[in-house]
């Protein structure tokens, strides 16, 4: 290991030297049009260097205990600012997945569907690294299965602005726009304004696959002048197609009507701020989706979601096209699967093939991923906003964990503003289950839980605070009885550390990078 480490370190330093040596390259990186000014012999050298160095940098990054999903791309772009455009030329025009919730799972579902129907494994950022550097890393390192392979990339809401022009997506899947990490973006409205601009810059033949149930998404795509395929709920005669998803409480940050701006109302089913919305002001309402989904009644004892998919044949009616059973828990999975089928439709995958391909597809990193640790089960869930916590609450209600490990950190990837925990139903998660709190902001979680869920004064649940993630995992595991379940609900960087801790103990398979 030592010689490898020395070699890798040397290569890393060389890369850093190249990366920071030339100023004009940095300006060219942010503006592809200025690249021609710096082309030439040096540029060719940099192209080669960037590609040659990537594996070494990736190695250094991983040896030093990091994920290695972003840094290699960062260095490569510093060395060769034109690398993203070059790499984008080497793949088919990609399918890009956008939205605040469900990107990673949906990306994974679409990738599985394409692999099934094309017989080629698409390039995809399966680890969820969705900023510019993460995309470059993915395109650099993901193995090339063929000439110009297909690609499915999840992209951060804001990073999309600078990536839309370079990637020239064939399809953009717009999941939703729920409250997420407001500190990075300012405000949801700012993202809407930004997307309106970005969508007008897309190639005119880019197909938008959009969630009809999100009024904010509707307001962005309606005037985009691009072909649209919509997905949404398929209400059953019995009413609510989303079991357990509607808590009847106030809608967290209800969206405004795309036409007149008044707050929309939900007559029928809704899940968080998504559903069959209608505007009391101007009468505008949800468009009929092209792909519909509802939760079918399954065996209540199992841990699978049974979904029924439908397609719009003609007029306003939806006709069933088949059933999908996925080991994902909760109503959010319904939207993820519907989005994947709609994306398949836009890509030219026959809907019935899409349904067959999706049946049984597993969860993505941290999206209710299940890991066996001896005779105990660890269930990993990403929590990043009130919506994802609602998802976790649903899962907990079905899985009855014996212990819950809650993690909160405030690094950039977690979202630096942690105040959303006060809008999330964390107290419902705590309930009667003993808790361990961890992460750099564990003390803030303790305050949040002390003040409970409502105005009533409640006894606190038994809880332990341990800011150190690795030791918190060990103590939490010790408190789970044999055959019991530990549920982990944590922000991104903590989940990564836990996942790696389990990998080190050879308990979890390595993640595809």
């Amino acid at each position: 290991m030592t010689p490898t480490f020395a070699g890798a370190t040397g290569a890393g330093y060389a890369a850093l030297h190249l990366a920071f040596s030339r100023r004009r390259y940095t300006s060219a990186m942010t503006d592809p049009r200025r690249l021609s000014a710096v082309r030439g012999r040096e540029h060719r050298a940099r192209r080669l260097a960037a590609r040659a160095l990537a594996p070494a940098v990736s190695r250094v990054s991983r040896l030093t205990g990091h994920a290695g999903t972003s840094f290699p791309g960062y260095v490569a772009e510093r060395v060769d600012p034109g690398i993203l455009a070059d790499l984008a030329d080497g793949i088919q025009r990609p399918i890009v997945v956008l939205g605040t919730n469900g990107k990673t799972t949906t990306t994974r579902l679409i990738a599985a569907m394409l692999e099934h129907s094309l017989g080629v494994r698409p390039i995809s950022n399966r680890s969820g690294a969705n900023l510019r550097q993460g995309i470059v890393t993915t395109l650099l390192s993901d193995a090339r299965p063929s000439e110009r392979p297909p690609a499915v990339l999840e992209v951060d809401e804001v990073a999309f602005s600078e990536l839309a022009l370079v990637l020239r997506p064939a399809i953009v899947v717009v999941m939703n726009l729920l409250r997420d990490q407001l500190d990075r973006y300012g405000e949801i409205d700012a993202v809407i304004a930004r997307w309106r601009h970005d969508f007008s810059q897309l190639p005119t033949d880019t197909i938008l696959v959009a969630c009809a149930d999100d009024a904010r998404v509707e307001s962005v795509i309606r005037d985009a002048g691009r072909p649209v395929v919509r997905f949404g709920l398929w209400p059953s005669a019995a009413g609510d197609p989303l079991r357990g998803g509607t808590d009847g409480g106030p809608i967290p940050d209800a969206p405004s009507c795309p036409t007149c701006g008044s707050l929309v109302a939900f007559d029928g089913a809704r899940w968080m701020g998504l559903g069959e919305w209608a505007c009391p002001g101007c009468g505008d309402s949800r468009a009929m989706p092209d792909v519909g989904v509802r939760i079918a009644d399954g065996d209540p004892g199992d841990d699978l979601v049974h979904l029924e998919l439908a397609m719009r044949r003609s007029g306003d009616g939806l006709t069933g096209i088949g059933r999908v059973t996925v080991p994902l828990i909760g109503s959010a999975a319904a939207y993820d699967v519907a989005a994947a089928v709609a994306a398949g439709l836009a890509f030219g995958v026959p809907p019935r093939d899409a349904v067959t391909a999706l049946d049984g597809t597993g969860p993505a990193f941290g999206r209710l991923e299940e890991i066996a640790v001896g005779d105990r089960t660890v269930l990993l869930t990403l929590a990043k906003n009130p919506t994802s916590v609602a998802h976790a609450v649903e899962a907990a209600a079905r899985r009855h964990p014996d212990h819950v490990l809650l993690g909160l950190a405030d690094r950039a990837a977690d979202g630096r503003d942690t105040s959303w925990i006060w809008d999330a139903r964390l107290d419902a998660l705590a309930g009667s289950v003993p808790l361990t709190l961890t992460g750099v902001s564990a003390d803030d979680l303790a305050v949040r839980l002390k003040y409970g869920g409502g105005p009533a004064v409640r006894s606190p649940v038994p809880m332990t605070v341990d800011r150190h993630v690795d030791s918190a995992l060990s103590t939490a595991l010790e408190r789970v009885p044999p055959d019991g379940t530990l549920m982990v609900v944590a922000t991104y960087t903590i989940l990564w550390r836990l996942r790696r801790a389990l990998e080190r103990r050879r308990l979890a398979p390595s993640l595809p990078r």
Binding site: H66, R411, S419, W422, K450
Partner: protein, 285 residues
């Protein structure tokens, strides 16, 4: 910590202003902190919400207003145009008020948006705000200017996220002095607004602040100051029995410790920091 409320015949009325328009950023946590801290002491609390369509202002001893998006602030201006004077009278008569971020800006004398649009405020708080293109976002550690708050702790912690730059009027004093973060305007190291009109004790206390987090749960001294002000408006004794705030102060102190002196990379020479910062941001997690 005991949950059994002591026998007490005191009661206060809290009015949550416009939760339907101003309720992102977890500011409902402020109401929870007030209610829980009052009830643990056996003080009865009634909570009323003023929604955007409601005709009149409910009577209260303590008014609380949170933050929202710029778009919502236009709607808020409409409501305050209707009810702002009434609120001003209630506060002048001795009710207390806590205004956070968007609410702080809206209750001032004027808010000029970045696009140049002027929103007139009711002037309940003597502050005027001008929008700017650049947001002040990040953790804030500040020092309270008034020593009457709390058990010997003067630090104030929270998370700010605002594009407005606020200037205090001549009737107002800053709530705190910024040690880390932007505060009112990123220029004069002031954070928030504090007015104690001198009606006896904390009666008529007005607090404006940019701090989310939400601000009260991690700053129990500020929460208790507001409770004392609400009690004195009812002519009730303002002695507040101490609570076990170990959890709250641990979170508070941890925040101060992490952010007061800045991140370690802030202490590097500038040239080195420019190299280290992007790398540090990217290698994680």
């Amino acid at each position: 910590m005991t949950d059994a409320p002591a026998v007490d015949d005191r009661s206060i009325r809290i009015v949550h202003l416009l939760p339907d328009l101003l309720s992102v950023y977890g500011d409902t946590g402020n109401i929870r902190a007030l209610v829980v801290r009052a009830r643990r002491r056996g003080i009865r609390v009634s909570i009323t919400q003023l929604l955007a369509d409601d005709p009149g202002l409910p009577r209260g001893d303590l008014y609380v207003i949170g933050g929202g998006q710029d778009r919502d602030q236009v709607a808020v201006e409409g409501v305050l145009g209707r009810l702002g004077d009434e609120l001003g009278r209630a506060v002048a008569d001795g009710a207390a008020i806590l205004a956070v971020c968007g609410g702080y800006q809206s209750l001032g004398t004027e808010y000029r948006t970045a696009e140049g649009r002027v929103l007139r405020g009711p002037g309940v708080l003597d502050v005027r705000t001008v929008g700017s293109g650049e947001r002040l976002v990040g953790p804030v550690v500040a020092r309270l200017t008034d020593t009457r708050f709390g058990p010997g702790r003067l630090t104030l912690v929270g998370f700010e996220n605002h594009s407005g730059r606020s200037e205090l009027g001549s009737d107002a004093a800053p709530l705190a002095t910024v040690e880390r973060g932007g505060g009112n305007n990123g220029r004069d190291a002031t954070e928030g607004l504090l007015a104690v009109p001198g009606m006896g004790g904390m009666r008529g206390l007005r607090i404006g602040t940019y701090l989310h987090g939400p601000v009260l749960p991690r700053n129990p001294h500020l929460a208790d100051g507001l409770l004392a002000a609400a009690l004195s408006n009812r002519g009730q004794t303002t002695d507040l029995e101490p609570l076990d705030d170990t959890v709250e102060w641990r979170a508070h102190d941890r925040f101060v410790e992490r952010w007061r002196t800045g991140d370690w990379s802030d202490r590097l020479p500038r040239g080195l920091r420019k190299v280290v910062e992007p790398v540090r941001r990217l290698v994680g997690p």
